[in-house]
């Protein structure tokens, strides 16, 4: 059985991905733009989608634009930024009711596609510049957005780990860019970046819902046309610095210490041993049956959360836990011991089997949401591969204990970061 059947069509300047499914009462359209992370452009690029989503020629104020969306049965429309490996990805997502479930039969999909095209290709521009007021307002909000990362200590400590661990690499750049770069952005410089992004980025459009492929293709062809391009691809992976383990302590006024530990996996999405790495992460820290949860939380009672996750396109595995300051040594020791256990193959057949079952379940659940489906399919765009979900699952199921032990040998501890309270200074 095929879990997702995706049709991919080459369009003018972009690829169109259609997944026809009857399980949703809405249709989802997601536009994705991908370019290498770059220190020079990261802040411009991060600001761009927020300016584009706030107005256009046809909807010159955000009130007019939002009124239009409300009238469209409260279509939800938002933008999102992500780092996928060394790439900076912008998403515009529109979710719109399927008129099948409404008494009003207005063709909402067509209107939705028109709207998305309007936002992307008809911005509120005069004399080669975005509208000044909008840019200034969005700059102000963007500074607040960057600043707010500091206030959520769980997010903050994760960002700090990556910043320290990947110093000198593109991946260390912040997804929202740099605070001190925002003021320098002008309505002109942002518009010239807009033109650059739309002529150079790798572009993809996803349409998920109870739709007709022919209708969607015709609609996309009618509404969205871009110049042909050869997207920039980066070398597989960039690792700067030596192999010494870095230890960073940062003191702030916090009650709970945040411990974040970064490993280099040296394995990327789609590599032969990638599937074994997924299982390894599951046994080690991905779930509530994993070694970290059992040993840090259930046995030692040190934390409420202790987990690990992978960054598949960058080759990182990151552990996070919230602990009391005085338990730092004990927690680090347990986390390291459990990694040694993985390298020695010290895990049971049952741990292996249950982890595979849970990974399988998690993936199948993810594709029960349109956004989840798109995130899974987009891995192939980022990695320039063509791995179906079925293939992914089969390969994962095949991973043996030997495969896992083998991939564990590649994993290297890189950085231990601890955000700790003032009393730790005394």
């Amino acid at each position: 059985m095929t879990v997702i059947s995706e049709t991919v069509k080459e369009m003018q300047g972009y690829n169109l991905h259609i997944v026809k499914t009857e399980k949703f009462k809405t249709n989802t359209l997601v536009w994705k733009m991908k370019a290498p992370l770059s220190k020079k452009e990261v802040t411009l690029r991060a600001l761009l989608p927020y300016v584009l989503q706030s107005s256009s020629k046809k909807y010159p104020s955000s009130t007019k634009l939002r009124t239009f969306l409300d009238e469209l049965y409260g279509a939800s429309f938002y933008v999102d930024l992500a780092k996928k490996g060394e790439y900076h990805v912008i998403s515009f997502a529109l979710e719109i009711a399927n008129e099948k479930f409404l008494s009003d039969k207005t063709p909402l999909l067509r209107i939705g596609m028109e709207f998305l095209a309007e936002i992307l290709t008809n911005p509120n521009v005069a004399n080669d510049a975005f509208e000044q007021d909008t840019v200034e307002k969005e700059k102000r909000t963007h500074k607040q957005r960057i600043q707010s990362n500091f206030d959520d200590k769980m997010k903050y400590s994760s960002t700090r780990l990556v910043e320290e661990m990947c110093k000198g690499e593109r991946y260390a750049l912040h997804v929202h860019g740099e605070m001190n770069e925002v003021d320098g952005i002008t309505a002109q410089s942002l518009f010239s970046y807009y033109k650059k992004a739309f002529s150079e980025d790798e572009l993809d459009l996803y349409v998920i819902g109870d739709v007709s492929e022919n209708e969607v293709t015709a609609l996309a062809n009618e509404k969205m046309k871009f110049s042909p391009r050869q997207p920039q691809l980066l070398d597989r992976n960039e690792v700067v610095g030596d192999r010494e383990v870095k230890t960073i302590n940062e003191v702030q006024d916090v009650k709970q210490g945040k411990l974040n530990i970064g490993f280099r996996t040296n394995v990327l999405y789609g590599d032969e041993d990638y599937y074994a790495l997924q299982v390894l992460n599951g046994i080690y820290g991905g779930f509530s049956h994993s070694k970290l949860f059992i040993n840090v939380r259930e046995k030692a009672s040190l934390a409420y959360y202790a987990a690990s996750r992978l960054e598949s396109h960058k080759g990182l595995m990151m552990v996070m836990s919230g602990i009391e300051h005085k338990n730092y040594d004990q927690a680090v020791a347990i986390i390291n011991e459990q990694m040694v256990a993985m390298k020695k193959g010290d895990f049971s057949e049952q741990e292996l089997v249950q982890t595979k079952a849970v990974i399988r379940n998690q993936l199948l659940e993810t594709v029960d949401t349109a956004r989840g489906m798109i995130e899974i399919l987009y891995h192939n765009v980022v990695s320039h591969q063509n791995i179906t979900l079925d293939h992914w699952l089969v390969q994962m199921e095949r991973a043996t204990k030997e495969d896992i032990v083998k991939v564990a040998q590649k994993i290297q501890l890189d950085t231990v970061y601890f955000l700790t309270g003032q009393e730790a200074m005394q």
């Binding site: 939002r66 206030d151 200590k153 006024d253 779930f287 409420y304 009391e324």
Partner: protein, 434 residues
């Protein structure tokens, strides 16, 4: 078994009340991989004074005990239920709110087996002094985590301002001190009182065979000897109408100030259709006033007082309820002043039918989007049912709201004496980096 059809939504819901009092609902979802099931008791953090089963006097239990019990139910003599679920390819979880404790799993295979595990583990408590002590360390870290979270502190700070006596003002997890008084005997007392099937609701949603699942649940329950239980007696101290305090400012280790304005509910004794209509109408009012397409939103944004963290919501339960409006802001005092102006501007007139129609369309579309999610259906249906409301009445009730209804709610709900403000502002000192 009763079948309820929702034609416009193309959904069917099956219902049966079992002889032991358990309410069972099944909603088949074709095309989905996942089955999601919740087993919920009408017992949350606010239920801290009650007459225990078989006793005659009211008791007051330590703050945070409902949440503590939720944690401890996962531990059994032969190990941890999380382990069992993951062996069966499921992921399990639980949560405690003010009024409910829910246990749940989702799985894409072995649904019957997982459902059996869910029902059995919730109906088979195993508490010992040793495991209770161990949990105090874990929950202690959960509490500390929330102590560092400015949004959580802001939210509870505002509820504390609004309520003087009602236990809604107490943090769901309690405090490190309050949980130190929890014992295994107290846990059993709460469990025996609140986990009887007649106080619980089981909801299953997913690609399931309805007949088979219903049969399984009935057989499972028939094996367990539940004696019928008298109605649970809960007690809440009298609460004044006005907000308890008008303002609170918390200094925390943040860079951006945060501000929430709250209004205490006017009606504390509604349920059923009356509650549904009041809750929806108040939410419609807030959306007309502060939605992204409103003139107010644009003004606040242009004035630099709000950003994309701005939100608003009204929620109502038996005994308490509140509206909350706000988010991150560069200027909390100015934001409060502007929000008040905007609220009081519509107190006697000023709402337009055009805005109402737009908000209704938006909310109907939002509901369609929400019913894509099995989690939403199961959790919200349960919440509605515990308040004698029906989730699937939302759209027809929304459709019937008139501009006069909204204006009436604006007139009676917006009131200076039931209004309060909470702010989180940066501590006046510089962070040290080593």
């Amino acid at each position: 078994m009763e079948k309820i059809t929702f034609e416009q939504l193309q959904e069917e819901l099956y219902y049966e009340k079992l002889t032991n009092g358990l309410d069972v609902y099944i909603l088949p979802k074709i095309g989905f991989n996942k089955t999601y099931a919740t087993f919920t008791t009408k017992y949350g953090s606010v239920d801290n004074q009650f007459i225990p089963l078989g006793k005659e006097e009211f008791v007051k239990v330590p703050d945070g005990i409902a949440h503590f019990l939720e944690h401890k139910l996962f531990e059994k003599e032969d190990g941890d239920v999380f382990q069992q679920f993951s062996r069966q390819g499921a992921s399990a979880n639980a949560f405690t709110s003010f009024t409910r404790t829910a246990y749940l799993f989702s799985s894409t295979s072995d649904v019957e087996l997982n459902l059996e595990t869910l029902i059995d583990f919730v109906q088979d408590p195993y508490f010992t002094e040793k495991t209770v002590e161990k949990e105090k360390g874990i929950i202690g870290q959960e509490i500390t985590m929330y102590d560092d979270n400015p949004d959580w502190r802001l939210y509870f700070g505002l509820i504390e301002n609004l309520y003087q006596n009602h236990p809604v003002k107490i943090d769901i997890a309690g405090t490190i001190d309050s949980i130190s008084h929890i014992t295994k005997d107290l846990l059993y007392e709460c469990y025996n009182t609140f986990y009887h099937p007649s106080n619980m609701l089981l909801f299953v949603v997913g690609p399931v065979d309805v007949e088979k699942i219903m049969k399984q649940i009935k057989e499972n329950q028939a094996k367990k000897p539940f004696e019928s239980q008298p109605e649970i007696k809960r007690r809440f101290e009298a609460e004044k109408k006005e907000a308890n305090e008008g303002k609170k400012v918390l200094e925390m280790n943040v860079q951006t100030p945060k501000c929430l304005l709250g209004i205490k509910a006017l009606h504390h004794d509604q349920s059923g259709m009356e509650m549904l209509k009041n809750e929806l109408t108040t939410n419609v009012l807030l959306d007309m006033l502060f939605g992204k397409s409103s003139a107010n939103y644009e003004q606040l944004y242009n004035e630099g007082l709000i950003d994309d963290t701005f939100s608003y919501d009204y929620t109502q339960e038996s005994g308490f309820g509140f509206a909350m409006i706000g988010g991150d802001t560069s200027n909390p005092e100015q934001l409060v002043a502007r929000l008040k102006e905007m609220l009081f501007a519509v107190k006697n007139s000023g709402l337009t039918n055009e805005a109402l129609q737009r908000t209704k369309k938006k909310k109907i579309g939002g509901f369609l989007r929400a019913v894509n999610s099995p989690e939403f259906i199961a959790n919200q249906f349960t919440r509605y049912a515990f308040n004698e409301m029906n989730l699937f009445d939302v759209v027809p009730t929304l459709e019937k709201i008139t501009i006069d209804d909204v204006q009436r709610v604006a007139n009676e709900f917006i009131s200076e004496e039931r209004l309060s403000v909470c702010q989180v502002i940066p501590k006046k000192k510089i962070r040290a980096v080593l």
